[in-house]
Amino acid sequence: MRSGASALTRFRSIALGGMSLADYGFYILCATAVVLLLAEAVRDTTNFAQTLVFGLTQGAIFALIALGYTMVYGIIELINFAHGDVFTLSAYIGTTILGLFTVTEGSFTALNLVALVIIFPVVMLIMGGINVAIERIAYRPLRSAPRLAPLITAIGMSFFLEGVMFLWKGPATVHFPNILPQWTTTVGGVFFGLKDIFVIITAAILVALLAFFINRTRLGKAMRATAQDRDAAQLMGIDINRTIAATFFIGALLAGAGGVIYGLYYNTVYYQLGFRTGLIAFTAAVFGGIGNIPGAAIGGLIIGLTAAFSDSYIGGKWTTVVIFGILIGVLVFRPTGLLGMRVPEK
């Protein structure tokens, strides 16, 4: 399909006032969406605000998962299809660990608080270890193989993890204890609870910690350097294997926290949850610009909001179509995403 590819290239390269036609299309579509949403916001403010709250909450969870996709892609150009299942597995491990405590569901006790404080670091560290093992077993031996090879082992790893969860707890949905405070309120007709606030704040703290780690610490800088030029990073004395393992570890810390947050919020998980959620988070990473860390966080929020608005204004059964339509649209017209990297080359 050479002519097709070149037609697309030609289309992308038509420039008008410094921006390509495809860029105009991208911005016009974004602007249209914003205008339509604003019209809805004026017509029915309460419903709009309610959708906004829900969109932000699920967007925060997508963001946590999307970060893992984008970090791994940034450093080894692998779409880690097992990442969504790492997210689900953390919810499975989380509910198992909570089962060891005699937590009270439906009200908030001191023991609940203790369980809450313990479960995050424990699950996150376990997931970090598991993800490092996944990289060691399924990706590192294929480091110099053609790029399709680790992609296939990633899909294999995804099925493997789903199989493990299936064998462990069966095909039915699994209950996740409801141990957060049940306090809710209504402000101007908009209903929200402490749960929503908890999700958004926890995610924000984790993203802030990640930003600090990536931008300020020695290992974080080594990760960025490795992502930008692996050979040059080696010439600086950076141990590539260690840095890549660290990337998988940190990606899994975030996905692990995301899985626990998801469980605490929705109180139900099932073994294939990570397939769809993972793909949506991947879309978020592509939308933000795959490989771009702030892009993944913003992309997660935007995709979460898009899903919520689509549920509310278009209808739930269309939401998957809308989201993956966005994925296709971005890949065709703006493969660098919203905050895609554009570095002047000299």
Binding site: K221, Q228, D231, L235, M236, G237, V343
Partner: protein, 236 residues
Amino acid sequence: MALLELEGIDAFYGRIQALRSVSIRVEKGEVVALIGSNGAGKTTTLRTISGLMHPRSGSIRFEDREITQTGPSKIVELGISQSPEGRRLFARMTVIDNLFMGAYTRSDRAGITSDMERVFKLFPRLQERRSQIAGTLSGGEQQMLAMGRALMARPKLMMLDEPSLGLAPILIETIFSIVREINSQGTTVLLVEQNAHKALEVANRAYVLETGVVVQQGSGQELLASEEVQKAYLGM
């Protein structure tokens, strides 16, 4: 005892042999140049020294220590750093972060700070642009940063791959005078260049590579005067 000694190096990319029994010696305090045309194996030689690739046969010794199969991070720790061909900066990081990456294997904060000052003294432009993103620097500034970054490892041997490539003549002068200055401050330099004239002027000794084989060697002056070198590389 030579600082660096390559003996009978054979190196391959897949089935293609890039180096054939290459032997090179660098004494402490020297500037040694490797000259030759495109594809002669100059960059490959540096890659085998840096440990980015390993030779199929032959040996590499640094300070009388076998490093033929040693990995790149260990080699930086031992005291060999490289400013690679095409500069290979971390384009989305600031000038100062690029320099810090150069000192990645070191933990002596005071030493790193004083070396940073030394780099800024050699390249005042870098100090002016310390917070700028490396990818937005001009070509000459990028070359300075690549050299400064290699110096931040406080190397015993600094390898420069094509430092003059793509630079304006006046900048080439500057770069080579800085190479001299770095050398006079006590760093041994192994220089790879297509700009043979400039390289031979600076070098104490030089090797001529042709399709993976060392075809000629001698002092910089000898090679400048050599008829074959003049014909093939100096365009005389």
